[in-house]
Symmetry: D2
């Protein structure tokens, strides 16, 4: 369904932050922990260390489970918070609703995802209150059990701490759990200048999918539960889902390096800055409309007729045909360079000046 | 439940082959593929190359899906071959029956694992024929759908190609699929001196979990289907199970390096040789009974009273309390050295000579 | 959530057709088949006879499975037509989407219900075509597998045979199965004056939930499959879902009596006529707006302020608070009498003439 | 798989107690409650009355949910007591293990049934203690969560209250729930001369499948929970499983009539007496070995060569080929007559005296 250039690796690629490679520090950490034997399944010393690291970072005890994909992280959280007859309330644009091939339904044992709308890919708290009460106690209806929000959102927008707190308050009032899909949690925290605690449990988040893969790791995400009572269930669900890695030290080493010296924040700041540079550059190109509200590393733009095709034909890589006509999504990463951004902006400008000849 | 030494990494560890690290060639491959961007979810060039590699190795077209854990590989295969009302026939000692926290039941949607016994952890073909017909067409009974065998087995024994062919014949006759849990497929192939094809589809295997993690990879296993009609279902099940890795090139690179220059066979030959050396050494220690039949990299021994505790107290690492009294399991890996083996044998000999003083 | 009178049985009740009792002929059939022993689980003679009866009625071979609830009938059909990673396309007002507590998700193993809109509770074929192609082959998306329509709809409206055929054509074109929730199939067939065949397989229906309970039976519905290849899977799913009744002759006897002498059509004609009488009567009451388009035995009306509460307080029974303000649903059944209808219309008229004093 | 006579209804049938019809009092109750309308889904007056009736019968508050099949009753209980990663400990001969097509696995979301042996189809408490602790807290193992026993057992034997109490004590000690499959609870209570309370919650039973269908009802079973906290989950699971009957008054009426005037005990006493008469009669036939220990309405016998086939050929109906050679199962019901028993015994005697000529 997507228009794909032949060799995506040569020219700048803005398809997704998961097209980037791995931060050098993380690659080094993998090599560094390779010596000798280590106990498997998370009983190693690197893993033990990591739980302390997260406790410091989040300023409280927290259950930590490493997995290799964001789908796994999200679905474990949702399954721990939602019985099979439950409803997960989420935004209609959310990844769990659109892009997981039904993984949340699988891991929960058949719960239902119920969309709750709101502007800029963010759930509206008043709409949430209505849906959170819908069908409660009626045996014919699925029972609202969990709210899942994405931070940063699928549109690159951000919930402020107050906005999360407002949703958290609805959850407390109606007895629902609050899950945050934080596959781009770093980008959000970096952009907002808040602490991890201020963006999670302090505003009512019960379960956090703490992403690392999109922001420089090779393949590791952390399920964080701020309620220790969920620890055992999460561990069993992880194993049962095939997500308990045997050579766990290599996941732990990635995450350790990701957190050490605030690499995670540095990477996120850089990706955000590149998106900002891209947005400012494109805003000055005639005919390009840059979506407002994006503050992280995702940018949606409406391009003039023909520009998307021309840029793709020139070898740039991005998704162009999933939304409205001429609407494209551009994603930057820790590895995106200013030169790549400028090259793209220049190509867009060239097309705008001379659409017939192309880029 | 296990007696664990304080620092398992210092002294030789025979707990499991998943306690070993990663082959240097595989670590290098990770670094080598890190440059630039690549399409995610397996649309990269390394992944494309890999399908060809497997086709050559197995001498035919084969569907390849990479995942990060053996549980994932096994359960995807079982789910593709077994409807929710189906039965998976497997040995009572099999990993899928005992050590997956119900993952096969989860991925199949609630199918039933039905034990079929046989000596040396291998399914007996006559017993299989009875169970394969049991309840067929009776709506009150689960319907036999799939046979799963482990090669090398959980006891370190091996099915010969003829033995697999005998089970394969039962499967064909009764309409069942044949799955091979090959988390130690390399050890089996190396020990038997057969080709991958001779140990799989040529003797009736439909689905193969081709392991790499235990034999030198960091975390990658391949689901191989010799029936191309299963490809799409497997791909959807992988995504839905949270096992579709975004930065897939790093799984593909591991597997590519694992297969290149027959590293996989070299690693397996070495691990097998170390187990052989260990077995021969221990067989000469007074009071030690080495289990017969093991030909791969797993060794079960019955030790004299007190020896297991003494060796564990001395810092060696292995599992000692899961089976009969004084029975221990020793597993070697690609990284096990002859010196480690000899150190262990010497410690056992010392204890045998002077049990009171200990090791 | 509903305003319920204390004694619903004294005054006319229009809450649902499942508030009615059982047709005398069906009660008699239960008594008539009670003598002696009979083989259980559907191997009895009454059950055997029934399959022939349905074949005649539908003018072709058809697989018949009896169950006791409409939820069971619908979910078995959906599960047989939809893999766990599939999508069931249905109207946003459909019963399976709103009133089954997630039963379709449970029986399918976690498939997703995807709403497709259209006026009068009927799916629009053009909207269906778009959704039927959505995500096909994309591993990140659930795969459209089945379309489910309700006939008569939840609003009491009807699909004409041509309208069903248009949806059936989309299903054929896109490879989807077409399921009809016919819990009020009799009312639809009676109102439209078509044959069962013309309203099902001749217009593309693959699986039909053929309802009887709402139209005079005690508790029996038939799953009808026009594809004999689904028979065995349906039988296994029925058992596994706990829906294989042991004393099946008593389900078969109900259904036999329901079909004999066209009792099912007579009952449906009567219920429809009562709804028509009710609609015509209420249409003449000042301030009452009767919904257009209803042709079966369900009627939605908008009442003037205060009328619903007054009628409920007077002892009439119906649902009043689930939709927009002052909107009520009135359902008639085979057992509704003209006197009951007239009593209700008269009470409404009295209120309209003198709202203060009430009914 | 079974040898079935052409006309099972003419000659005495001992195939199962579910081959019998319905007690006249229960048929009458169905007719008696047919007048007028009633609220659906259990909100009717007959249903309300029933909860009080059960409270009196069991001498305490109890949650009551009616369903139409024993499979539904058992699986709802197991699902409420067992998480998807849990193990249900049950006897290898139990119905839930052998005859439900995996329904327990389906309703629990993939839990595992783990056999625990013991003589006469009864779980041995010491074996139970071992299995109840097996794998607890080990993330690789399914977690024991529930024990399920059958009373009367599949062999027609009985647990004494003390025997149940011993299992109940193990459950309490290890944190497991105790479920009783009481599809023949009446036969057990009648045979033992104990009260329902003495055979359930007083000896540690948490969840009881209280059967009625096999003992004279048309199709109704009660899920009884002695822990009110399970009520809401059970209600949601029942709906989600398609087991919430709309015209519930007809289930309630059956159960009400079943309990009224101790019809349930009278029916059970009669069935038990018929089995006793049958056993005593057959014990005197040369070559027939009657299984010891049966006290309810099921009898296993070993017949001399050829006798089973001869009796089946003569038109008697029973299961003969599911166990060891020449072993048959004979089941009596509330409707079995002494004449039928005597006819069967006489036929057996005739064959024993003159095997060549047959019956």
């Amino acid at each position: 369904m997507t228009i794909s250039p032949a060799s995506p690796t040569r020219m700048p690629a803005f398809g997704s932050d998961n097209m980037a490679g791995v931060s050098p520090q993380i690659l080094e950490a993998l090599a560094a922990c390779n010596g000798g034997t280590a106990r498997s399944y998370g009983a190693d010393e690197v893993s033990a260390q990591l739980e302390r690291r997260f406790a410091e970072l989040f300023e409280r005890e927290v259950t930590v489970l490493l997995v290799t994909t964001g789908t796994a992280a999200n679905t474990l959280c949702l399954a721990a918070a939602t019985p099979p007859w439950g409803a997960v309330l989420c935004h209609p644009l959310s990844h769990i609703e659109n892009d997981e091939c039904g993984a949340p339904e699988f891991f929960t044992g058949g719960a239902k995802l119920v969309p709750v709308d709101g502007p800029l890919a963010k759930i509206d708290p008043e709409a949430l209150l209505v849906k959170a009460r819908d069908g409660k106690g009626d045996v014919h209806a699925v029972q609202p059990a969990c709210v899942s929000i994405t931070q940063a959102t699928e549109l690159g927008t951000l919930y402020t701490p107050d906005e999360v707190a407002a949703l958290g308050a609805v959850c407390r009032e109606t007895g629902l759990a609050l899950h945050m899909d934080g596959s781009r949690f770093a980008n959000a925290v970096a952009a907002l200048g808040v602490s991890p605690a201020e963006m999670s449990w302090k505003v009512g988040v019960d379960l956090l999918s703490f992403g690392a893969t999109k922001n420089g790791a090779m393949g590791v995400e952390a399920v964080l539960s701020f309620d220790p009572k969920r620890a055992q269930e999460l561990a069993l669900r992880r194993k049962r889902g095939g997500h308990l890695t045997s050579k766990m030290r290599f996941l732990a080493a990635q995450m350790e390096a990701y957190l050490a010296d605030d690499l995670w924040l540095a990477n996120a700041h850089h990706a955000n800055a590149m998106a900002d540079r891209l947005g400012r550059g494109l805003a000055e190109v005639t005919g390009v409309e840059v979506q407002e509200g994006a503050e992280a590393n995702i940018l949606f733009c409406k391009l003039p007729d023909g520009m998307a095709a021309a840029l793709l034909a020139a070898g740039f890589y991005f998704y162009a045909d999933r939304w409205a006509p001429n609407v494209v999504r551009l994603v930057t990463s820790f590895a995106t360079t200013a030169a790549e951004v400028d090259l793209f902006v220049a190509a867009a400008r060239d097309f705008a000046l001379s659409p017939v000849g192309g880029v």
